[in-house]
Every structure is written in C-alpha cells, then in structure tokens.
Subunit: 188 residues, 2 copies
Amino acid sequence: MTDIFRQHIEQIVTLTDSEYEQVRSHFIPKKIRKFHTLIREGDLVFDEYFVMKGCLKAYKTDEEGKDHILQFALEEWWISDFKALAMQTPATINVVALENCEMLCLAMESRERLCRDLHKMEYFFRKKTLFGYIALQQRVLSLLSSTAKERYELLLQQYPQLFQRVPKTLIASYLGVSRETLSRLNKS
Amino acid sequence: MTDIFRQHIEQIVTLTDSEYEQVRSHFIPKKIRKFHTLIREGDLVFDEYFVMKGCLKAYKTDEEGKDHILQFALEEWWISDFKALAMQTPATINVVALENCEMLCLAMESRERLCRDLHKMEYFFRKKTLFGYIALQQRVLSLLSSTAKERYELLLQQYPQLFQRVPKTLIASYLGVSRETLSRLNKS
DNA sequence: CGCGCGATTGAGTAATTTCAAATCTAGTGG
DNA sequence: CCACTAGATTTGAAATTACTCAATCGCGCG
C-alpha cells in the first residue's frame, strides 16, 4: 500500500525507514463514525489528528446558536483545537466527523518528544505550522477584502472536492454568509 | 540596558551568553522613518523583522483602492510578508511604518541556518509560529461569529496601547468595517 | 487665527439577513 | 419501478444592517 502519511511527511523532510518507524510509533490509529464528535466544547484536548480518510469540520456555535466553520479537514489535513491543545484550556470549538473517518492520533507529549528526539521532525512541524499560518493570513485578507462571491470562487478553485462532499450550508458558514445568500451568489 | 530582544526569546527558550551572541549575530539593526515603506507590493522579500521600537502596518489595497489591515506590529512583534518570504514570490501586501521604527532584520537564510545550528531556535520559531497560527484562528472566528462592536472591544482589551498610537481609520480597516460604522459603534 | 487632518453625524442607498414557503434530491420500502 | 419522506437547496418579500457620500465638528500646530 502507498503510505499517504509517510508521503505527507516526506514532502517536507526525508526519513530513513527506521526514522519513519520511530515517527509512526507515536501515532495511534483512530476511527470515528459520521456525525460523531471528536472534540466537544469544554473538553480538555490532548491530541491532534492527521486525517487518513474522511472529512471533518471544526466549528464554533455562537450565542444565537449559529455555527461558524473554522476549518474543514479532508485527507492529509491536520485537525484539533490547537488553542486548547497548546494552552491546556477547555476546548472552545467542536470537531465533528462529516463522514466515517480514519485518523492518526498524535498526543501532545508525543509531538514534543518527536521534536526533541528528531530534529527533522521539529523542522517538519515548524514548516507545517508556517504554511498553516500563511493560509490563515490569506483567509483573513479574503474575509476583509473580497466579496462573498470571490471567496466562494476561490474556495471552489482551491478545494473542488469539498463541494462534492459537504453541504452548501457548511460552505456558507465557512465563508461567513447565510446559506440563502450563498445560494443567490450562484445565480449572478 | 535591558535587552528586550533577548527577553523575548528567553520567554520561550533559555540561552547561554554565547548562544545568544550566536543568535544575535544574525540580526541586523534597521531603522525606518514614519510613513516610509518597508515592503512594497510586488517586491521580492528576503527578510522578516522584529520590532524593537515603533509601530507598523501590513495591509493590502483592493481593486477599489480600499486598504485592509492584515496586521499591526508594535514592540516585540514580528512582521513581514510571510507568504512572499516563504514562497519566494512577489509581495502581495505593503508594510509601512506608522512611527519612526527600529527593527532587527533577519534574513531567511539566517533563520534557516539558526534553526539548523541551534535546535533551541528551531523550537523557538516553531512555538512562535504556532502562537501566531492560534491567534489567527481566533481572528478568523471573531470575523465570522462576532459583531463589529464585539471585535472592537476585544481588540481594545487585548491591545489598549494600539488605540493611543494608530488612527481609528486603521482600526476600522483591521476590524473589517468602514470608519463611519466604527465611529457609530462607540455611541451605542 | 486659520489650516488640515482625523473623527463624527446625517441621509439616502445597497447589500445581507431573516423568516416562510416552495422546490429539488437521494435513499427507503412497498 | 414508483411513491414517499427527510434533508438540503432555492426563491420571495420584508426588515435590518452597513455602506457611501457629503457636511460638520474638534483639535493641534504653525
């Protein structure tokens, strides 16, 4: 089998087989069924997850009960409540499976130990985090300076698979508009 | 003198004097005057900057000529066009001094070399980037789920100094509302 | 004193939201 | 194969919100 996890890491650093075994040994497979919750608001969070198969959403529910999507995670994405994980505070978002999912679970201590023991992995996580930071800067800029239609088209272009797999309502709440407005965008 | 740069790093990793000298030797002091441009859209970007004194804005101008603030940088903040720096593509934002500024300038190769030579510094940059990522996630969530008034009050609470130092117009374009709307928020 | 910049206010306009209803679609069981 | 149902999407109309543009205000500085 082609190991998408190893490939994912080796896009950034090359590993010997024994290094890879060392890395892999810290990840624990985990499955979760469609609609089930991986992280619930208020929970303490100890792990982050690499998605092998399936699709999840991380979202926050506001006072009025409306949901706002912080991120989706398809195959080869990482997901968690990174703030809760880093600060060891209760989760402020929910993470829920949109399909049956298979993940690799990495405990925070495992990540830190990997980074300590394998300089390459500290490099890997630094780069990965930097790319995430850059992507979020782009998202902030697009929230500030683009119309909903432009944001929609950009997302469609960047992640066309997403539109086959998640309901439009969720796309709307990722883009920051109501589902009715999103629907009307397609027409014009 | 109290070295705010060393303190800044030692909030995350402790360094021996000689390690600190090694780190410090890669940073080149740079001054820039109020209203002058550090990075101009279209430039190639080779450096990132640690602000010792002063205040800058990173912003994008849209097709209609309106500015949108991606970030401010006060003392002890880092600023650059991180996307342009990481990808070695032309800058898509401008970085301009709002006051006379003193910075420490770090070339990308110097950062990578520091990370290679000093595992502690790779750890430092990984953590720093993670905190930046988390802060941006919070900003995305507040853009999606909070009213302009709530975002204003959060910013005021987190960075009260900012309001003494930058015009309200810029605060408005950071929050994603017109300056008139921001002005009316204070009243209600 | 008067100039200029930033902030505020008012009025009209444009865009988005809300709420309700209608339509479409995929999956289920007869 | 077809009818039925639940969920998702679309459409319509009214209400709300934010925007634009223009005018005014307030303050610091020469």
